[in-house]
């Protein structure tokens, strides 16, 4: 109606509508015919097929479990494997009387109340005719008994599946974590189909972090069963796809050397490959055997781990937070030099006390209390002998803002981004942090405590190792990584931020001071330099587990062992061309030099040894 006619024509519009409606009636009838044809096809033409199929539903679709990805250490040594294990499963629809069947089974093999209780829970979550496990890990004997009595146990079957096995038991417990049975809470969140072939899932550690990669893809098979529920033939099969294999940076030899060195002590150690940020060793002591958890740990075993005073289940390496103590001195020294707060020629006179204007009570040097370190303490000496008084002054003059800014760049106060779940962030205090967490302003006294790694400051052993690696690499900011390759494909090194900008001469100065911590006659870690064929640079630390008043002297004989100071050590080697960096803590170990440093040395020895042997192998090859 181009002319925009003002008249509408109701009669014509009605006719048009009637025609349109007729068209839709035709369409409706056509589509109805399609539906009828389809239902006719299913119900009449193919009736026989479907009737047979539904007849007791003899054709079953069963999931085929994928095999979980394997985990290797850097030397291609297998550290997480799958082994066959046999379960007793039940299909209630096949049994005449479920209660009687369970009772009969209990007569011939041992089935606990807890097994039955868990079985009933699982029953509620399954599909009809799906196998449900009643007992796990059948012994050879039990399997034989079941096979002999099979004819009178309708509905019960033994089925083989692969079970996770950790060949080294406790060596990698905290890092690898473990798989365990899927619990009710997890069932609600996970994708049911993906897990239809398996009853376990990564609970903690790498097993949890890389769950998606390790799991693999479930397959399925269509099987025909006889009236007793036994499979008579497989009609069709879609294979499962195995999970991805992981290769780690971890080195079993270093791990072993470290864990052995921790024998009888509590603590944690992390060693990092400086070039890549790869984690060479990660130990939390004491450890436990992760195989215990794989098919359900017994309550007794679990309680003994959970309530042990040594807290073996606690992953100290990434979740333990300790005051870093004097180990942060090299870092603060670097900041002081870079910002001209101190120079190499600047010296102080240390009489053991530090007075701050307006505060009557002095800060005291607990590490070295016999009247102080004396005259002429420069930065090198302050690092080598761990002089607190020097750093009180350096800290106050630098100011908390710079300290906390650099602390962040060196990896403190934030998660490092390692590929593990549950990492703690520690605390690198700042004005904003104190305002937010305590609602108080920052005081100079806080800066003084911070300048020797005490007060609010907390760091995980992993963060200590990261800080040590960043000092060793002259400011390269890499994120620590455990997984080196997935299915043989290299995982790229993660450069988090740009390098820390500090001039080379300051790095040289601090590196040399750290070397003297180990190799000079006054160094706090001189005890480990005996017989060293290479040079280690390090810094000891001692952190108070309880607070001591400035006027009291710390005396280990007067307090219980659990309250003794923690011993810390950071180190890298070889000192002039660093390859490996370490951070470690020995809980209540008292002195970094005597308790912590020797452990670092054992790990470094293991590294230098295996490194030189691979270097040899490379030389032989051409």
């Amino acid at each position: 109606m181009k002319d925009g006619a003002a008249f509408s024509d109701p009669a014509r519009e009605r006719m048009m509508f009637a025609r349109r409606l007729l068209l839709t009636v035709v369409g409706t009838l056509l589509l109805t015919a399609v539906l009828i044809a389809r239902y006719f096809d299913l119900q009449i033409t193919r009736y026989e097929d479907f009737a047979t199929q539904s007849n007791n539903n003899r054709v079953l679709v069963r999931p085929v479990a994928p095999s979980r990805g394997l985990i290797y250490d850097r030397n291609r040594k297998l550290i997480a494997d799958n082994r066959p294990s046999y379960n007793l499963t039940i299909v209630p629809e096949r049994s005449e009387d479920l209660e009687k069947l369970i009772a009969d089974l209990s007569d011939i093999i041992s089935i606990s109340e807890r097994d039955i209780e868990r079985f009933r829970k699982r029953l509620k979550q399954r599909r009809p005719f799906e196998q449900t496990s009643l007992r796990f890990n059948l012994s050879e004997e039990e399997r034989a008994v079941l096979a002999v009595n099979g004819h009178r146990l309708l509905g019960a079957e033994t089925s083989a599946r692969l079970k996770r096995f950790y060949p080294d038991g406790e060596l990698f417990a905290h890092v690898l974590g473990y798989v365990g049975r899927i619990n009710e809470r997890e069932i609600k969140t996970l994708e049911a189909i993906k897990y239809s072939g398996t009853d376990s899932i990564g609970k903690i550690g790498l097993e949890k972090f890389y769950e998606q990669q390790l799991l693999g893809e479930v397959g399925s098979e269509q099987v025909e069963t006889n009236a007793l529920g036994r499979v008579t033939r497989v009609l069709d099969k879609t294979g499962a796809v195995s999970g991805d294999n992981l290769t780690l940076y971890l080195d079993s030899n270093l791990q072993r050397a470290g864990l052995d060195a921790f024998k009888g002590k509590r603590g944690a150690l992390v060693a990092i490959e400086i070039e890549t940020g790869g984690v060479l060793a990660m130990i939390s002591a004491p450890s436990y055997d992760s195989n215990l958890f794989v098919s359900g740990i017994s309550q007794k075993n679990y309680d003994s781990l959970l309530y042990s005073q040594d807290r073996p289940l606690f992953d100290r390496a990434i979740r333990g937070q300790y005051p870093p103590g004097s180990t942060i001195k090299p870092m603060f020294g670097l900041i002081g030099l870079e910002h001209n707060v101190v120079t190499p020629s600047y010296k102080i006179n240390d009489n053991g006390y530090f007075y701050f204007k307006g505060i009557e009570r002095p800060w005291r040097d607990h590490n070295f209390a016999r009247g102080g370190h004396g005259d002429g303490v420069d930065l090198a000496k302050a690092i080598i002998e761990s002089c607190n008084i020097y750093f009180y002054g350096l800290g106050v003059k630098t100011g908390i803002d710079l300290l906390s800014d650099y602390g962040g760049q060196f990896g403190l106060g934030a998660t490092t981004g390692i590929d593990l779940p549950g990492e703690k962030r520690g605390i690198m205090p700042s004005r904003a942090w104190k305002k937010a967490s305590r609602g108080q302003s920052w005081f100079n006294g806080d800066t003084i405590n911070t300048s020797i790694g005490q007060g609010f400051m907390l760091a995980t052993p992993l963060q200590l190792a990261v800080m040590s690696a960043r000092i060793a690499s002259r400011g390269k900011v890499l994120s620590p990584q455990l997984v080196k390759a997935i299915n043989g494909e290299q995982v790229p090194v993660i450069q988090v931020e740009q390098d820390i900008s500090i001039s080379d001469k300051h790095w040289d100065y601090v590196h040399s001071a750290m070397k003297d911590v180990v190799h000079s006659s006054h160094g706090t870690a001189r005890s480990i330099n005996k017989g060293l064929t290479y040079k280690i640079a390090g810094k000891t630390g001692t952190a108070q587990a309880i607070s001591i008043d400035a006027e009291d002297k710390y005396d280990s004989t007067k307090i219980a062992e659990r309250q003794w100071d923690h011993a810390l050590f950071i180190a890298f080697a070889p000192a002039d061309d660093p390859k490996i960096a370490i951070g470690l803590i020995v809980e209540n170990g008292e002195h970094g030099g005597s308790a912590a440093a020797p452990i670092a040395r054992s790990v470094m020895d293991a590294y230098m040894l295996s490194n030189s042997s691979t270097a040899l192998a490379e030389n032989e090859e051409p």
Partner: protein, 375 residues
Amino acid sequence: MHRNDFVRQLNSPGGDRRPSRILNIDFPLLFILIALCSIGLAVLYSASAESIFYVKRQATFMLIGLFAMIVIAQFQPRLWERWSILIFLCGLLSLVAVLFFGVGAKGAQRWLDLGVTRFQPSELMKIAVPMALASYLGKRHLPPRFKHVSIAVIATLIPVLLVARQPDLGTSLIIFSSGFFALFLAGLGLRYLIFTALVAIAAIPTMWFYVMLDYQKQRVLTLLSPEQDKLGAGWNIMQSTTAIGSGGLSGKGWTLGTQSQLNFLPESHTDFIIAVLAEEFGLIGVLGMLLLYLLLIGRCMLIALNAQSMFGRIMAGTISLTFFVYIFVNMGMVSGILPVVGAPLPFISYGGTAIVTLFLGFGILMAISTEPKRI
């Protein structure tokens, strides 16, 4: 606004005195609806493993729906015509509210929590969109001109996209088709129809790559080859076709369907309920039910043909066609010729909101059917 707009005079002098005119009830429609509801309850009893609880709840919703339908039938169609745009805008607003404050389950955000009860705006839009379009187009010269077509298309697509985002592809398709039917019945020109067909073809790859979520794609793939996904959605289809096929000509008998009673059939009391009916009552049962549906649709189309206004015609026609879409999509998906979208079978599947919405639509149809003749 006149008082008569709201409630009709019971004893208008010289008016029609037949009970259907006085009560404003279309009796053929009412009888067919009651028959369908009764069948629905019987099948539901069997499909829910003979649960009186489900049947009672469903019956309650049906009674609420019947009551609402009769109440709605008491209002003049003219009133609905006048208010339709406002209702549409309210619906649109609540859809946007769902986007921000909605609650839901299984990853879809579809409900508004009103404290006392929960409300699903997308259900309302199933009626509000055709009503608004019928009202808008009914006032124009037909066939509609480009401007009016454009406005109608936009008014349809906004709720369609909002609902698809929730995500609820089934409801979104229903709303889309209701908008299309309204335009088609209003006499949409041939060139628009061709254009729509071309756009639809072009939209398939776009939908696939940009709009559809992984699980929705999975369902389409499942339709193409159910064997690929035997543990997931393919399992449902394999079980439902087995259930339908094993029903044969006359079925296994009420509550005797082995597939459904042994829990092989998923969602047996909601979206897949037709499989229970087909298994237990056979092809005869399926055809009987289809016949009832067709009678209902036929009656509705007759109402559309005899309606007094263009609004009434388009509205009644659209409701009956949309109703057929429900049936076709549901029966098609359960028998494996359409992908699985969440679409209940009207009056048979368990689900309160859907039933009440259906009755509301038929209430408007009754109002249209009993409107006094204009002179």
